[in-house]
Symmetry: C2
Subunit: 317 residues, 2 copies
């Protein structure tokens, strides 16, 4: 293959790259028995750990902590009340021990109570400046260049590309265009409800009450993919047990399907937290040995960041 | 305009047709101040009464009654228990008096308890043969040809076209391709939850438990448009108070927006049940005088079926 024709230049030659290229070629070749009509070409991507860095904590957690800090002066009681106290102190050890109820309370305090437009502006303003402590670079620059290439390659091959994230749908949509070249309708995520109201001028607005509507992780991913898209995708990319059911659902569709898991095994260029590494946090899913065994047994692709990716970030030479 | 160049040949010349043509021309002309980028071109259409016939009852009600009849032998208790007894007797007067709880029970009995694939097959088999009593034609042929032309005209103008229906999302998706040329992801509707499970062979399946997730009518329409699409559409078409909030939300986006209501005022070719007609059923929304007044006050288009549509169905000459 000539370099100019390579749609995945940040990938090293190997099984993973070959599997992706083969999948796209056969499903877009009308003479191939595995051909897929354009209207059925759908691919889904987990976000955190699949499209961008998720360590040492989710980017959305950094956002929530900043929001807490900004709002703290209006809530003096937070200084002495958990989970606010630990969260405000930036106590990551305490954070790892928060219950789901604690987290829901923090989400309610930081993500609800405003209009949908208001929340969009808050996130857009934050993501424009917020930086990752390790690289001292904007979070939005810490996307995996090899995965951006897969997304663009699929789009160029007439696939519709969706982000299917356990993170907040409205949060991700606020930057999805600039970071992933994704439209709002191409982001499916965890969602709180909205409430239709009229503002003082009688104009229709949507408020964000603190009420969970969709929890888009694990079994929630296939359920929400069905809700939004109506059938299994042809291809799905994830990196943890939170994506397991999405990949199983993808494979259940039969025919030519591509299931892939990104394995974080490069502690020099990024992080290592696969089955061979000490698990740092399993609350939200992890790449466990059981998941690795399932992938091998079912023919899913395991993408080694260390072996398969020539570079990880666009700012690397 | 030459006949060959007319994208809306089933429309009579008049305010409504002119408004639609003008809206599309200005929002797709890069030199016009009202130009809309392709990625923001979204239009939403109510289904029942806007895209196809909804009288004397919703098509989905006919489906539910047929399902009840098919399932009745397994449920002898239905013969003596409401709401089943009246529904099975085809008692439309009783049907009009059913409470929301009654209807939820009927939906649960007829729309839940199977896999998502199983339900799709049930609907697809039914819609292939089910006929409307007045015309003795398939329900799926009773779509409004002028509205199909608007949908195709918008698509040709690089708009994404969505159906936003109070009816069941999975129900409408089962025939949306053949009836509207719409993909599953282009149908937003009322939805019950799904439940991820493994079948006897360990294959991932989604079951349909009898649990309402989204009620996509009235305020539910803008809420679900935001959930699925992330912003107001540029254009929205409806026909009743169930679409009022969708049109208000559309207009709230500002700039060039098209809000349109189909007025059923042609009792010869279809039905007449607008503000000037006796209201046959207001439970699910109706074209009330208040809605008519709001439309006029806010510059929404009122499409008179009698005056604006040259023909209503494709089978008419």
């Amino acid at each position: 293959m000539s370099a100019a024709a390579d749609p995945l230049p940040s990938w090293n030659e190997g099984e993973a790259k070959t599997a992706i290229l083969d999948f796209v070629r056969k499903t877009t070749d009308a003479t191939n028995p595995d051909f897929v009509r354009e209207k059925d070409r759908v691919a889904t991507f987990d976000q955190d750990g699949t499209l961008w860095v998720e360590h040492p904590f989710y980017t959305q957690v950094a956002f929530a902590l900043k929001r807490l800090t900004d709002l703290a002066p209006q809530h003096p009681e937070w200084k002495t009340t958990e989970p606010y106290k630990s969260a405000l102190a930036g106590d990551l050890a305490a954070f790892a021990k928060f219950t789901v109820n604690d987290l829901e309370e923090l989400v309610a305090a930081t993500h609800a109570g405003m209009t949908t437009d208001g929340f969009h502006t808050i996130v857009a303003d934050w993501i424009a400046k917020a930086k990752h402590p390790r690289w001292d670079r904007l979070y939005k620059d810490l996307v995996y260049q090899p995965m951006l290439e897969v997304m663009e390659y699929l789009r160029a091959s007439r696939y519709k590309v969706y982000i299917v994230t356990g993170g907040g749908q409205a949060f991700v949509r606020a930057y999805a265009d600039q970071v992933y070249n994704s439209r709002p309708e191409e982001v499916i995520g965890s969602s709180i409800a909205t409430q239709f109201e009229y503002d003082a001028e009688g104009r229709a607005v949507l408020m964000r009450p603190p009420k969970l509507l969709l929890y888009n992780d694990s079994s929630g991913k296939p359920q929400d993919i069905y809700l939004f898209l109506g059938r299994p995708p042809q291809a799905a990319f994830g990196n943890s047990t939170g994506d397991q059911q999405m990949l199983e659902y993808t494979q259940s569709g039969g025919g030519a399907r591509l299931m892939a898991l990104v394995l974080h095994d490069d502690d020099k260029r990024e992080y290592a937290y696969g089955p061979d590494s000490p698990q740092t946090d399993t609350k939200f899913g992890a790449f466990t040995q059981a998941l690795y065994d399932e992938a091998k047994a079912k023919g899913w692709i395991v993408v080694s960041m260390k072996r398969d990716w020539k570079r990880i970030f666009s700012f690397e030479s």
